[in-house]
C-alpha cells in the first residue's frame, strides 16, 4: 500500500502544516472527530500522540493531556480500533497520519505487531522520541521497512552537522527540527530559532524538514516556512481543543487562523 507521507513529499514540499493532538483527549472518543475535522480543514499531515505516563520530552500542556487521556481509558489497542473504524467509515481519507509515542508502550505492545497494525489502520509514520538512531538501526529499521512505515528523527540546535547528515541519510519520512532546546510548548519566543533553521536550510538535506516546539500562530508558521518545508503545532492546538465547546468549529477556525 502507498505510504501517504512519501506521496505527499513527492508532490508538495512547502508550507506544510502538521497538527499534533493526543489520542483520547479531551474525551476518549474525540480522536477521530478531531482527525476528521483536521482533514476537512485541509491540514497537510496529522500527528497523533499515544499517551504515556512519563512523557519526558513533553511540556506541561501535552503531559496533562496524556494524563487525562489515560484516565479516559486510552491505550494503543483502543487507538488502533478507533483508527480502524475511522478508516472503514472514511474510505477516501487521504491525509498522512503519524503516531508519536514513547518507546516503552510500543515495546510492550510488540514492535512487529505494532507496525503491522499501523499499516493496517492507515498510519504512515512514527515518531518515537526516545528511540535513538543507534537502536533504530540495530533492531527497528527492518520491521519499520517491512510494514512500509516511515520513521521520523528529531534534530535540535545542539545536533552536530555530522549527525544531521547521518540522520538525513537514515530518514524515510521527514526530519523533525525541534526549534529550541526545550520540552514542548515551554518557550515563548520562536524568533531565536531563525539562525538554526537557516543553517538547516543551507545544508540542502535530502529529507524534508518540519519544525516544531513553540509554533503557536500564523506568524510563527510563516516565519518557520521561510526556512524549512513546514511546521508542527502541538501544545497550542491542545490548549485550543481543551477549551472548546464545539471541536469541529475550533479545529476549523484554528487551522484557518494559521494557514489563512
Amino acid at each position: 500500500m502507498t505510504n501517504k507521507l512519501t506521496r505527499l513529499f513527492s508532490k508538495k514540499q512547502k508550507n506544510l502544516l502538521n497538527i499534533f493532538f493526543t489520542a483520547g483527549y479531551p474525551q476518549l472518543e474525540d480522536t477521530t472527530v478531531i482527525l476528521k475535522a483536521l482533514e476537512d480543514s485541509k491540514v497537510d499531515l496529522v500527528e497523533i500522540g499515544i499517551p504515556f505516563s512519563d512523557p519526558l520530552a513533553d511540556g506541561p500542556t501535552i503531559q496533562e493531556s496524556s494524563k487525562k487521556a489515560l484516565e479516559n481509558g486510552m491505550s494503543i489497542e483502543k487507538l488502533f480500533s478507533q483508527l480502524e473504524k475511522f478508516k472503514n467509515d472514511n474510505p477516501d481519507f487521504d491525509t498522512p497520519v503519524l503516531l508519536m509515542g514513547y518507546l516503552n508502550p510500543v515495546m510492550q505492545y510488540g514492535l512487529d505487531r505494532f507496525c503491522e497494525r499501523c499499516a493496517a489502520v492507515g498510519v504512515d509514520g512514527l515518531i518515537i522520541p526516545d528511540l535513538p538512531m543507534y537502536s533504530y538501526q540495530m533492531g527497528f529499521q527492518e520491521t519499520f521497512e517491512k510494514h512500509n512505515i516511515s520513521n521520523v528523527f528529531l534534530v535540535t540546535p545542539q545536533t552536530s552537522e555530522k549527525r544531521i547528515k547521518e540522520i538525513d541519510a537514515n530518514s524515510t519520512g521527514f526530519i523533525y527540527a525541534v526549534s529550541s532546546a526545550s520540552t514542548t510548548g515551554s518557550k515563548a519566543d520562536f524568533s531565536a530559532a531563525a539562525d538554526y533553521l537557516g543553517r538547516l536550510r543551507d545544508m540542502n538535506l535530502n529529507t524534508p524538514v518540519l519544525t516544531g516546539f513553540n509554533i503557536k500562530n500564523a506568524q510563527n508558521f510563516k516565519d518557520a516556512c521561510n526556512y524549512v518545508d513546514g511546521a508542527i503545532i502541538g501544545s497550542e492546538f491542545i490548549r485550543q481543543i481543551s477549551a472548546s465547546s464545539d471541536l469541529n468549529d475550533t479545529v476549523r477556525e484554528f487551522v484557518k487562523s494559521v494557514k489563512g
Binding site: D54, L56, L70, E77, N104, D130, S182
Partner: protein, 388 residues
C-alpha cells in the same frame, strides 16, 4: 560472565541510552569523557582526598556483636551512615561534582526521593560554589521536611514535582526536562545507578569505594553482602568488588510496601517486567499497556518503579538474589538495630536488616550489611508509625 557494562552501555540485555535527541549532546559529552576524567591521576587524587578529608572515609566496618549473637553468624556493618551528610550518597556527588567541574558546567540539577541525594548534591555544590536546583516530589517534600530544610540552608533551590505520584519518579522526570531545557551549562547529578549510559556505570564506580574498603577491612571475602535497593546505588557500591567472587552471596533487598501481593508495593525485581524507563532498559513496574505503575513504600528512598540495569542483569543472570521486605518488617528491623546496636538506621537500610531472620546462617558465616544511611531524616515516620 561479565557483570560490567559493555562499550554500548549494556549489562547483558539491560541498560543503553534511550534518550530523546534533545539530550544526545549531553549524554555524548558524558560518554566520551567520564572514563578519561575518572581514570586521570588528577581526578583520582582530588576524589580520594575529598573522600578522606570531607566525607570521612574510610567508613568503619563494625562487628555488631548482639545482632551476631542473635542470628548466629558474624554480622558486620559497613558504616556509610557515618559519611558526611549521613549516607553513602555523598560518595557519588563528590565524584560527579568533580566531573561537572572538569566539563565546565556551572549549574547542577538533581532529583531526590528521601532527600539524602538532594542534601549530598547541595553539599558538594556549596563546596564548589555551583548553583544547585533539586527536584523533589511534592509528597516527599512533606514527608522529608528536615532534609528539605538542610538543602535550603546549603543554598539549594528545592523545586516540587507535582505530577504523577508526586514522588521520586516524577522528580526524575522533572529533572530530565530541566536538562532538556538547559543542555549547555547544566550537569544532572543522577543519584542512583539508573538513567542512560554512562550513569549506571559512573555512579557504580563512585560508589565502588564501599566494596573496596569492605574487602580491605575484612582482609578476605565475606560470605554475604546485603544491601537495600531502590535504584540500587548503595547495593551496587557494596557489591562492586565482589561481583567476580562467586563465593560471596550478594543479596539486594527491595521494598515490598504493604506486600508483594497488594498493589501498594515497590518490589520492582520481584514483580516487574523488562521495559524502558528514564532512558534505560531494565526491569520496571508497569501495566500491560506499558504505563508505569506508581510504587509504594514507607521509605521515600525506595519507592521507585524502576531499578538500575546492572541489578536487572545480576538478577537475571542469578549472580545476586533479591528479596522483598514489607513496611512493617522494615520498621521492626529498625527498632531491633536501634535497640541492640545503638544505631538508628535509615528506613531504607532497615529493609536490609530485616532479611537476617530469613537466611540460613552458620556460626562461621561472615555477613556484611551495608548500613547505607542514618535514620535522623526518618524520625517523623518512626515517631508516627511506632508511636514514640
Amino acid at each position: 560472565m561479565s557483570y560490567q557494562v559493555d562499550d554500548k552501555g549494556f549489562y547483558g540485555e539491560f541498560g543503553g541510552a534511550f534518550i530523546p535527541e534533545l539530550l544526545y549532546p549531553n549524554i555524548e559529552e558524558l560518554q566520551e569523557n567520564y572514563l578519561k576524567i575518572e581514570k586521570s591521576e588528577e581526578f583520582q587524587i582530588e576524589f580520594h582526598q575529598l573522600l578522606k578529608d570531607y566525607v570521612g572515609r574510610p567508613t568503619p566496618l563494625f562487628l555488631a556483636k548482639r545482632l551476631s549473637a542473635k542470628y548466629g553468624a558474624e554480622i558486620w556493618l559497613k558504616r556509610e551512615d557515618l559519611c558526611h551528610t549521613g549516607a553513602h550518597k555523598v560518595n557519588n556527588t563528590v565524584g560527579q561534582i568533580l566531573l561537572a567541574e572538569k566539563l565546565g558546567k556551572k549549574r547542577i540539577i538533581a532529583e531526590t526521593g528521601a532527600g539524602q541525594h538532594g542534601v549530598a548534591t547541595a553539599t558538594v555544590c556549596a563546596l564548589k560554589g555551583l548553583k544547585c536546583i533539586v527536584y523533589m516530589g511534592e509528597k516527599d517534600i512533606e514527608r522529608q521536611a528536615p532534609n528539605v530544610a538542610r538543602m535550603k540552608m546549603l543554598g539549594a533551590e528545592v523545586r516540587p514535582a507535582t505530577s504523577g505520584s508526586k514522588t521520586l519518579k516524577d522528580a526524575t522526570n522533572e529533572a530530565m526536562r530541566d536538562w532538556i531545557n538547559n543542555p549547555e551549562d547544566t550537569h544532572y547529578i543522577i543519584g542512583s545507578v539508573v538513567g542512560p549510559h554512562p550513569y549506571p556505570d559512573m555512579v557504580a564506580r563512585y560508589q565502588a569505594i564501599i566494596s573496596k574498603e569492605i574487602k580491605e577491612q575484612m582482609q578476605g571475602l565475606p560470605d554475604y553482602v546485603i544491601a537495600c535497593v531502590g535504584g540500587g546505588s548503595n547495593a551496587m557500591g557494596a557489591f562492586y568488588h565482589f561481583l567476580d567472587d562467586p563465593s560471596v552471596k550478594l543479596i539486594g533487598v527491595e521494598a515490598a510496601g504493604l506486600g508483594v501481593d497488594t498493589n501498594k508495593t515497590a518490589a520492582t525485581l520481584t514483580l516487574g517486567t523488562p521495559g524502558v524507563l528514564h532512558a534505560s532498559r531494565s526491569i520496571m513496574m508497569q501495566d500491560k499497556d506499558g504505563q508505569v505503575v506508581e510504587p509504594h513504600s514507607i521509605s521515600a528512598g525506595l519507592d521507585y518503579p524502576g531499578i538500575g540495569p546492572a541489578h536487572a542483569w545480576l538478577k537475571v543472570s542469578d549472580r545476586a538474589q533479591y528479596m522483598a521486605v514489607t513496611d512493617a518488617d522494615a520498621l521492626k528491623a529498625a527498632v531491633e538495630c536501634s535497640q541492640m546496636e545503638g544505631i538508628i538506621p535509615a528506613l531504607e537500610t532497615a529493609h536490609a536488616f530485616s532479611v537476617l531472620k530469613d537466611l540460613d546462617l552458620n556460626p562461621t558465616d561472615r555477613v556484611v550489611i551495608n548500613l547505607s544511611g542514618r535514620g535522623d531524616k526518618d524520625m517523623d515516620t518512626y515517631m508516627r508509625e511506632l508511636h514514640l
